[in-house]
Each structure stands twice: as C-alpha cells, then as structure tokens.
C-alpha cells in the first residue's frame, strides 16, 4: 500500500543521486514507518522542476518539512539538471527570482521605517497580545489624525494663510442681517499679565481665540485671480465632510482585514479547549516574568472556561421560579445602573449650563468654571463605572458576560455624556425654549457672538483636560503607588498591589479622545494636529508607565482585547460625531459675525449656491444622476450584487460543512482499511509493519 509506494519512490530518487542516497534511505525509514504522520511528499520535486510556474522550485523547497541537509541536497540536484526551457521562460524565471529577492530586501527596509516597530514588539513579548493590541490601536489613531491634519492643512489652513497675506482680488461677502448680529469682539488686548497667556492657552480664549485655531478666524473669501478660483467656504465644508468619510474608510478597511480572519476561521466558541491547549502559548514570550504571567493567564482562562460551563449547566437546571427571580434581579440592577448613569448626565447638564453662564470670570476661579464640564465628565467616568462594578457583584452573571456588560456600560456612559454636553451647548445656542434671546439672529448672539468658536473651545478644553488628567494620573497616582508598594510591605499594600494595565478602560479613553476630536474638527480645524501630538506623547507615557509601574492583567478576555472590538467602539464614537456634524450643518444658523459661512442661513447652503454657478451641462448631468432614471437602476443593480455575494457566502459555508463531514468519513475509512490490512496480513502470515520496522533497524545498524 503506502508502504511500498513510498519505498518505490525513494528508490527512484536514490538511484540517480549519490550524495543524497544515504540521506534519503535514512529518511525514508522514518517516514515510511509513520502511516498517520505528516505526509512528506518528497517524491515529486525533481520531476516537477521543469514545469514549475514563474516562481520556480526555490520557493517550494522552503516550505517542505525536510531537514536542511536534505533540502540542500535536493537543491543541488535541481541545479545540476539543466531544464529544457525556452529563453523566454528562463528570462522570466530569473526576473522572478530577482524580484522576490528585491521584495525581501525592501520588506526589510520598510520594517525599519514603520513607526515604533521595536517598541511594539518588546511590549508584545513582555505583556502579551492584549496590551500590544492597545498600543497598535494607539499607533493607528496617531497615523489617522496626522493624515487628517494633512488633509485639513492642505485645503483649509494653507489657502487661508495665503489669502490672508495676499489680500488682493479676494471677495468677501458680507452677511445680510441686523447690525447687532455682526458684532464680534474677540477681546484682543495689547498688554496682558504674563500668566494670562498661560490661562488663555488652557482655555482657548484671548490670543488663541482669534487665530487659525478656531472657526471664527476664517473668512469667507472666494479667491479669484487669473483663472484660479478657490471658494474657501465650500472647501471648508467639503473638507470636513471628506474628513469624516476618510476616517470611516480607514476604520472599515482595518476592520475588514481582521474580520476576514475571524469569518474564515468560524466561530471562536467551538473548539476553544483544543485551541487553548495547542495555540495558547506565545512562543515569542521572553523573560521569566512574561512567561510566568502567560502561564497564569492561560491557567485563569481555562478555569474561566470550565466555570462558565458549570454555570451554563446550572442555569439549565434552574426551576421556573428561580429563573423568574434571577430575571427580575437582573432587570432591577440594570435600572439601578441606568439611574446612576442618568444622574451623571443630569450633573453634566447642570455643570455646562452653569459654566456657560460664568463667562468673564477672571483668574484661576475663572479657569475652574470654564473647565467645569470637563471635570464633571471625567469624575463621572471614574465614579459611575466603579459603582456599576459593585452592582455587578450582585448580578451573578458569568464572568465573560460581566466584563462585556461593564464595558458596554462604560461606552454608553462616555459617549452619551459627550452627547449631553453637546446637547446642552446647542440648547443654549439655539434657545430651545424659544426665548426672545434668539429671535433677532436665530441664535443667542448676546452670549455667543461667534458660537462655533465657543463650541470649538469646549472641545479643545475637553481634549486638553483629558490629556492633562492622564499625565497627572501618571505622576501623582501610578508612580507613587509603585514606590509605596515596593518599599513598604504591609497587608494593605499587598492587597492593593501594583497597578494593573487594564486594556479596555484605556481603549475607551482613546476612543473618547478621538470622538471629541471628530466632534470638534468642524469648529477647531487644528484639533487633529493637537490630537496627533497628544497621542504621540501618550504612547511614550503609557509605555513608560507600563514598564515601570504596571503588572499586566492576568484576567483578560480575548474578545475584549481584539482589534474588532476596539474598532466597533470607535465606530460608535464616529456615529455620534457624525450626528453632531449633520445637526450643525443643517439646522443651526451660522454666526453672522465670524467664520466662512457668515453670509448664509445654513452651512450646507453653500453647496446649492455653488451648484447654481456651475455650467448648465454639469448641472444637467448631476440632476440626471439624482433622478429616478438613473438611481433606480443603480439601486436594483446593487441589490442584485448584494444577493449574489450573499448567495456565494451561503454556498461557501455549505461546502465548508460538507468538507468537514467528508474529512470525518475519510478518517474512519482509513482506520477501517488499516484494520482490514492488519487482519489480512495476519491471516496470510505476512510480516506486519512493526516486524518490518525491527528488521530494518537491524539491517541499517
């Protein structure tokens, strides 16, 4: 059977090649004796040498599971044979070889250029994949923000600077409206106390308010000079819209590559024990500490899996009364946590209203009032999850469900608190209660002469405060904690222990920071640049604290440290920012005293206005694209494509199942046939496989 087949093949090869002969006989013995072992199909390479495709035999050789000596011997043999190929084929093959060499070298160079490659690798080796995925996410956000900044700089900032410095042949359209609405005095004082600059830097007022930082500084210039036409308001709007689209595309592309792997390998739940045992160990782990930690982590993971199974079995065996009791307990505790979160929102609302009313307060107290919403939000983000964790102790969910519930509560809290802040601001600006303040200019021009700048300032303050708090936590909490724990050992310090680097809360912090930037980018165009710098510095700070102060979390869950999870949460933030942007563009009257949209009733109306100035053929073309004659066939076509892809996916799923079943059957067939062979050979008195083995070893020695 296979035995003789392999024997024949090995003798064919050994026949021609002296150098490899001895080797191959030795090898063939060990291969032949394993029927169920990995099938080393080393009979084929020499014969296939001549007909290989473009890449040629060399690539194939690397992937063969033979010892190096054997591979080199085969390669020598292949080199010796002169394949009969045309000059075209040999040219192609040599080009392919040099191309693959070039690619290998280029790959080596590119890996040096990649940002923080060595740092990420070191982090992964010492703290595992979960922590590394946080830092990779941070790197992704740095790059995303930097590219966004380049986009904004190229289309808004630089043209603005150019138009300001060359103020010839530019058109600024003045707004039509009551004179009092056009008054905007951004408080430019000549000489101020020196620390006022510092306060202004922190709160975005004073010298910072009327600068390229905020919306209010940009004019609605339409530059026209010798054939060059640049409509700044239109550019501002379209760049903002494109910025959102660009971020969405980046996130979805990144999610796509991770999802592809997840979908291809099927559901993670099935086969978790075998996967844990065989693929759980990270061979890249270096160092005693990292290894012990990984072992503890695997141990914990297995215990959790076993515990979850036990809980599942118990849940199945609950009586009806117990189930009802458990459900009502869950609902009650959910309401309690929702009440806590609602309380936090109310606090934010009140703080924002109060803070907006305190405009004009001086000094440190003024700074405090100005930062009040940020302070309340950050406090809420600390206190409420802590209390929800205490509630979760009573909830008696399984461990993984507890963690996921806690995470969703935190996400909900953070995103919606930002939403509440925005809602409060907008209600103040547009006077929801239809007070007489807003009748004149359709917005509250007395308190907000340039409301977009105020919103931009709020977002700037949020971003800055977030950053300052992180740095402060680093120096005032984490370093001292480590010093105390390391130098004083009493029961308390041992119980508290070193700081744990928990990935999900850190990731939520990043998502929150990014959402703030997205919300504020329309009103504060330089915010992506600030965020790039902030995240860049944050990387180094977090790395320092990771290596000096932290011990990695033993209790991790793969699902919550995966890239897909981070990106989904990031999409939530993006969605919130998108809602905010659409509302600002389409609903609120732009300030009449400042900014590129001062002459319009709605920010979006610049697009229809410019549209009317296009040539008639372009207008007709665009109308046609929007008309029913075009869009309905397009819609039908995309439905057809969608159905096709869905059907294809279903077919693939079915064929995967069929192949799995076939695999099972073939295994059983093979077992059956092997038993038959052994029985038959026993009956016929032919020496069995084991007897032959001993015979061979005797002969070779």
């Amino acid at each position: 059977m296979e035995f003789s087949e392999l024997q024949r093949q090995s003798s064919t090869i050994a026949h021609g090649y002296h150098g490899a002969q001895q080797l191959m006989r030795l090898q063939s013995k060990s291969v032949v004796s394993n029927q169920n072992g990995p099938q080393f199909n080393w009979g084929s390479p020499p014969s296939e040498g001549g007909e290989e495709g473009d890449v040629g035999p060399p690539k194939d050789l690397r992937e063969r599971p033979m010892t190096m000596r054997l591979k080199r011997a085969i390669r020598e043999v292949q080199q010796m044979r002169v394949p009969v190929v045309t000059s075209w084929q040999s040219w192609k093959r040599s080009k392919a070889k040099s191309l693959s060499r070039f690619r290998a070298d280029a790959g080596g160079v590119m890996s040096y250029v990649a940002l923080w490659r060595k740092a990420l690798h070191k982090i992964g080796g010492h703290f595992g994949g979960g922590v590394q995925s946080y830092f990779m996410f941070l790197r992704f956000l740095v790059v995303l923000n930097f590219l966004s900044f380049l986009l904004i700089a190229g289309f808004i900032l630089i043209p603005s600077i150019v138009f300001r410095s060359t103020s010839t042949s530019n058109m600024t359209v003045d707004s039509t409206g009551p004179e009092v609405c056009k008054v905007y005095d951004p408080n430019l004082q000549g000489l101020v106390v020196f620390y006022q600059y510092f306060l202004d830097l922190l709160s975005g007022t004073g010298f910072m308010e009327y600068s390229y930082m905020f919306y209010g500084y940009y004019n609605n210039t339409v530059a026209e000079s010798s054939g060059f036409h640049y409509n700044l308001p239109l550019a501002y709007l379209l760049t903002s819209v494109f910025y959102f689209t660009f971020c969405l595309i980046c996130i979805v592309a990144r999610m796509g590559s991770a999802l592809r792997v997840a979908v291809a390998t099927g559901s993670g739940a099935a086969g978790s024990y075998s996967k844990m045992v065989f693929t759980g160990w990270d061979y890249g782990c270096q160092g005693d500490r990292a290894t012990k930690l990984k072992q503890k982590s695997i141990h914990y993971q297995l215990q959790v899996d076993l515990e979850e199974e036990r809980l599942q079995k118990k849940a199945l065996s609950l009586t009806l009364g117990q189930t009802v009791g458990l459900c009502s307990l869950h609902i009650f505790l959910m309401l309690v946590s929702l009440a806590l979160i609602g309380g936090a929102f109310f606090g934010i609302f009140k703080a924002t209203v109060f803070s907006q009313a305190q405009v004009g307060a001086e000094g440190i107290l003024g700074l405090f009032w100005v930062y009040l919403p940020s302070i309340v939000i950050t406090t809420g983000n600390f206190v409420v999850p802590f209390m929800c964790d205490q509630i979760a102790l009573f909830e008696r969910y399984s461990p993984s469900t507890t963690i996921i519930m806690a995470l969703f509560r935190s996400v909900f809290l953070r995103m919606i608190s930002l939403g509440v802040l925005l809602f409060t601001l907008w209600s103040q600006i547009t006077c929801f209660k239809d007070s007489p303040k807003c009748e004149l200019c359709q917005y509250n021009n007395k308190e907000y002469p340039c409301w977009e700048t105020r919103v931009g300032q709020e977002m700037y303050k949020l971003a800055l405060f977030d950053f300052l708090i992180t740095i402060a936590m680093l120096f005032l909490v984490e370093f001292p904690r480590r010093l105390v724990v390391d130098h004083y050992s009493c029961a308390l310090t041992r119980w508290v222990g070193r700081q744990e680097f928990l990935v999900p809360p850190n990731v939520l912090g990043l998502v929150y920071g990014q959402t703030v930037v997205w919300t504020g980018a329309l009103f504060c165009p330089l915010l992506p640049l600030i965020n790039t710098l902030k995240f860049f510095i944050l990387f180094y700070c977090k790395k320092v604290t990771l290596f000096s102060n932290c011990r990695p979390a033993v209790k991790t869950f793969r699902s919550t440290t995966s890239t897909i999870f981070f990106l989904v949460v990031l999409l939530f933030g993006w969605g919130l920012a998108l809602v905010a942007m659409i509302y600002s563009l389409a609903q609120i009257h732009p300030s009449m005293s400042c900014g590129p949209f001062r002459s319009l009733t709605m920010m979006w109306s610049i697009v229809p206005n410019t549209f009317d100035t296009l040539s008639l053929t372009t207008q007709d073309f665009i109308f046609y694209m929007g008309s029913q004659a075009f869009s309905i066939p397009l819609f039908i076509f995309s439905c057809v494509v969608l159905c096709y892809v869905a059907a294809l996916a279903a077919v693939y799923g079915k064929s995967v199942d069929l192949l799995k079943a076939q695999l099972k059957l073939e295994g059983r067939d093979k077992q059956f046939l092997v038993k038959q062979i052994e029985e038959l050979s026993r009956e016929m008195g032919v020496p069995t496989r084991d007897q032959l083995d001993t015979f061979d070893t005797g002969a070779a020695n």
Binding site: P38, L61, G271, S274, V277, F278, Q295, H299, L663
Partner: protein, 187 residues
C-alpha cells in the same frame, strides 16, 4: 559590513536563502548567534561544511528559548538525531520554520511534532496532559487537567479514535486565527 565575508561561500548563502525564509544578512547573523553559543566548538569558517553539532543544553540557554516550556521538545524536533544536538543546518531550519513568513502548513507539521512527547505520531491523552501541565505550570488540579484534555480531544478528534492524528490537528489549527502569530520566535 558589506565587504567580503569568509564565513560562507556565495553558493552556500544562495542555498540557505533558497531553503529558508531568511535573507543573507539574517543567515550571517544567525551564524553569529550559533557561534556565540559555543565559541570553541563552532568554527568561524563554514566554507568546507564542518560537521559540528551543539548539544541541547547549550541551545536551550538562548534567551529566546530558555523560558519556553517546550524548549526541549522544540530542539529535539528539529535535530536530525532526535536527541537535540543541532548542527547549523538544523539551527537555521528551526528558526526559519518559527519565523514570520513560514506558511501555516509547515508550522502545523512541526507544532504537531513538538507536542508529540512520546513520538508516536499521535497526540494521545498523555501528550495533552504533559502539554497542559507545561502550559499552566502544573497549577491545575488533576481533575481539571483530565477534564480539559478530554474536552480538547473531543473537540478536535474527527475519526473517533480518542487521539489526535495529524489530520485532526491540522484541521483544528485552521480554525485558530492566531496560530501564525503565536508560533513565532523573532531572532
């Protein structure tokens, strides 16, 4: 540093480049690492293919391997004599399979060899138990170990012989998305 090096001939370097996933520079670097494991045993000049092997005890003292619970099995699986003595060929082969660019099928073959403690080409319950104990530093109770091993075999065994053949193992590996990234030692 770019000048002529006399450790290997150009032909030898070409051969190594074709048979492994390393570039010339990396192969030379690997030779440096191999040499510093046993400077008196390993000659600097490999042009005439000296027949030198380094024993297992020295190989597992490398920082990349010395904390790995499977270090002995890894070195044994790549050694020609099965006892863990690696020649330079085997050394390069080992790190080539464990490198980033090695394909999944190749890694699966060697992973199977590594976890097969009693070298019978099956992953039986004892093999799994040994693997699990090495993974968790023997902190699981014996009942838990038995339970996990039984569940693992149950999940992966396709032909119903209560041990895992290579086909079962490979099938299970294809469903593990991070096998490629975990079965990877960077050198």
């Amino acid at each position: 540093m770019g000048n002529k090096q006399t450790i290997f001939t150009d032909e030898q370097l070409d051969a190594y480049q074709d048979c492994t996933f390393f570039t010339r520079k990396e192969i030379l670097r690997l030779h440096g690492r191999y040499h510093e494991l046993a400077p008196h045993l390993v000659p600097m000049d490999y042009t005439n293919e000296p027949d030198v092997t380094i024993p297992l005890a020295l190989i597992v003292s490398m920082p990349e391997l010395n904390e790995n619970p499977f270090r002995n099995r890894i070195v044994e699986s790549f050694s020609e004599d099965g006892a863990g003595n690696l020649s330079f060929n085997d050394f390069v082969d080992m790190f080539s399979v464990l490198s980033e660019t090695a394909p999944r099928e190749l890694k699966a073959i060697y992973a199977f060899k590594i976890y097969d403690f009693n070298v019978d080409n099956f992953l039986c319950k004892e093999d799994l138990e040994k693997t699990l104990n090495k993974l968790t530093r023997e902190e699981l109770s014996p009942e838990e170990v038995t339970l996990v091993c039984e569940k693992a075999i149950e999940e992966a065994d396709l032909d119903g012989d209560s041990k895992l053949s290579f086909a079962d193992f490979e099938n299970m590996i294809t469903r593990a998305p991070d096998f490629l990234s975990t079965f990877h030692i960077r050198i």
